[in-house]
Amino acid sequence: MSRREPPPRVLLGTRSLHGLSLATRDRILGVADRYREPEALAVTLSRALDAGAEGVLASPTPLLADTRAILRRPVPIHVVVPSLTEPERLELEPGVEPVLRRRLARSNPAGVRTAYARFTRPATLYGGDWSVRLPVLIESELAGMRTRDVRGIVLDAWLADCALAAGNRKLFETFIRFARSRFRAAAGIETHNLGLLVARLRAWDLAPDYAVAPVNACGLGMKPSPSEALAALGESPVPVLAKELCAGGATFESGAAFARAHGATGLVADVCELEDAGCELKAVG
């Protein structure tokens, strides 16, 4: 956001389509089935944008690309990287190289930017160095997207929480700088450990444009404890977008109210939490 826009107040989330949700297994499978075709997701996305959602929080999957092609209207995207299927998430060792190896083996690593990034940060010299090689991963993940649609780049908790635990300040610093300078986009960090993230960012004197973390009245996914996470949310110098609003059984409206009342700057309304995106998002917008 050299565009330096304020953090979004409402995003439509599609993370549950990849199995990433605290909703029940039945619910996740049902939603995945409902949005199997891009047409269905396009309708929901369109309604969400009309109802005031400022974009979509999603990984750059073929489904998202097909959906955007159907919509034929600009869809601001906050891209979560890396894009992982559920089996990849459960099988790959955390790191940049394992994901890059899969990406480069599968797809044509064309794209001048990707090639340039690989040339300037070669694996032979920097292999395994998360902070040096992360830009290569981001370039390869975003290779098929128009830069002007990318409003934010969000580091997936799969990588972010490991680096956070290990105290890898350099990774976060590199990520924030790269997202802003290369894509002129907001730098977001997804975490399932909000308390630790806020404490570390403060200690490291780093300020991403926003963090994305679970916030719900049941305290699910709120670490180190629900009360400490809420305290961190209230005191965080970094804007926090609340996700998993309905975890534990809350309604979307009450979940949104809870998050806002405790200091969340914005909301990520996942498709698995919405029955009618238009009405529900309008109500909380």
């Binding site: 459960l90 790959l92 060792e93 955390p94 929480d161 049941c218 180190p224 009342a261």
Partner: protein
């Protein structure tokens, strides 16, 4: 806007397992997915210093350093044990190296937690247990045993709330193997056993923990994608009356994450549990539970982890292990307890290989480290 309820703050008894009571030097050997997760979790624990990491593969060590782990990295286990002198070591090596690595760590005097114990025959685990002797902490990483919902069910079963058990049905499924190549990937990591050991062990461990080890069982297995079994079913009886039946599969579509379901029919009612929730339906009020249906979701059960890495279980099991290594109480996944389940697993394999014949669990003959246990009637 008025928020009238705030259970996140007011929930009573919010507590987490106790972290080690004294400073502890910890290390991780094997820096694949599980090893990195253990290293990450250990880095967040109070009173735990991650003094070393190790892996024979240079790329794995570089990846771990790239993650931000500042501990000294070793290619060789002996060098790690000699120079870093960890008091607690997490072993997350490929399956075929595990027993020897654990044995060397025990010789060096470290407490050990091993990832992937299910892949080892009970005879190997028995040798390790003997080697550990009295007072040495040896545990196994079985995240399902630490899953808050299943931990709550274990407590319910132990409390006698359900009364006499009549029937137990259980299943564990995951969508993991749908081609010979995917099965080969397990074999390349040193695995010689299939779904019973890899997917079923955690379920069998839970069943044995809750209801005790059987004297006799039978099992059948089917091989779809290679030499290892892809699906299996097993049954045994408790005290000659209650029947336990389970099935495991790593080739069922629709289960991106492992899904476990246990259904218990008992004289006092019925209990149904999955990773999402526990549902207890009692005929009359018993212990702390009222008559009728009581549903406890993930948010309602304790304990809660203080760091989330792919869920709560990893933090809970590592905390329990290092607390034990520092002089605390034994975790549920101590090797002695896992050995009981491993004997059941061996018997399941023996029965499946003999076409589903009944096999006595207690009569397994252990021929020595590295060799599978063989029931006498099958061996003849």
């Amino acid at each position: 806007m008025i928020v009238t309820e705030d259970p996140a703050i007011t929930r009573a008894g919010e507590e987490a397992p106790v972290e080690p009571p004294r400073p502890l030097r910890a290390a991780v050997f094997g820096l694949g997915r599980a090893g990195l997760q253990h290293a990450a979790v250990l880095s967040t624990l109070a009173n735990v210093e991650l003094v070393a990491i190790g892996d024979p593969e240079r790329a794995a060590r570089r990846n771990a350093r790239g993650m931000g782990l500042a501990a000294r990295a070793f290619a060789d286990l002996d060098a790690l044990l000699r120079h870093a002198a960890p008091e607690a070591l997490v072993v997350a090596t490929p399956f075929d190296l595990k027993a020897s690595v654990v044995a060397r760590a025990l010789e060096a005097g470290a407490a050990v937690q091993m990832e992937g114990a299910p892949a080892l025959p009970a005879s190997d685990l028995a040798v390790l247990l003997r080697q550990a002797g009295q007072g040495r902490a040896v545990a196994c990483a079985l995240p399902l045993a630490h899953h808050p919902v299943f931990a709550a069910v274990r407590r319910v079963a132990a409390s006698g709330t359900l009364g006499k058990i009549r029937e137990v049905r259980a299943s564990r499924s995951v969508s993991r193997v749908f081609s010979p190549a995917q099965q080969r990937a397990y074999a390349e990591r040193g695995a010689s056993r299939g779904v019973i050991a890899h997917t079923g062990m955690e379920l069998v461990f839970l069943l044995v923990q809750m209801f005790g080890a059987p004297r006799e069982l039978k099992a059948t297995a089917s091989r779809v994608y290679g030499t290892m079994e892809d699906e299996a079913r097993g049954t045994w009886t408790l005290d000659g009356q209650a029947r336990i039946a389970f099935e495991v599969s790593w080739s069922t579509p629709g289960f991106p994450r492992p899904a476990t379901v246990i259904e218990i029919e008992a004289e006092a009612g019925r209990l149904l549990v999955s990773e999402d929730a526990m549902e207890l339906d009692l005929v009359a009020a018993r212990e702390d539970y009222p008559a009728g249906v009581t549903r406890l979701g993930r948010a309602d059960v304790l304990p809660l982890a203080r760091f989330d890495l792919d869920g709560d279980a990893r933090w809970l099991e590592d905390t329990a292990f290092v607390a034990w290594a520092a002089g605390g109480s034994e975790p549920v996944t101590r090797l002695a307890a896992v050995l009981e389940a491993a004997r059941v697993i061996d018997a399941l394999y023996a029965s499946a290989e003999s076409g589903g014949r009944p096999v006595e669990v207690g009569r397994l003959e252990f021929r020595g480290p590295g060799e599978p246990a063989v029931p006498p009637e099958v061996g003849r």
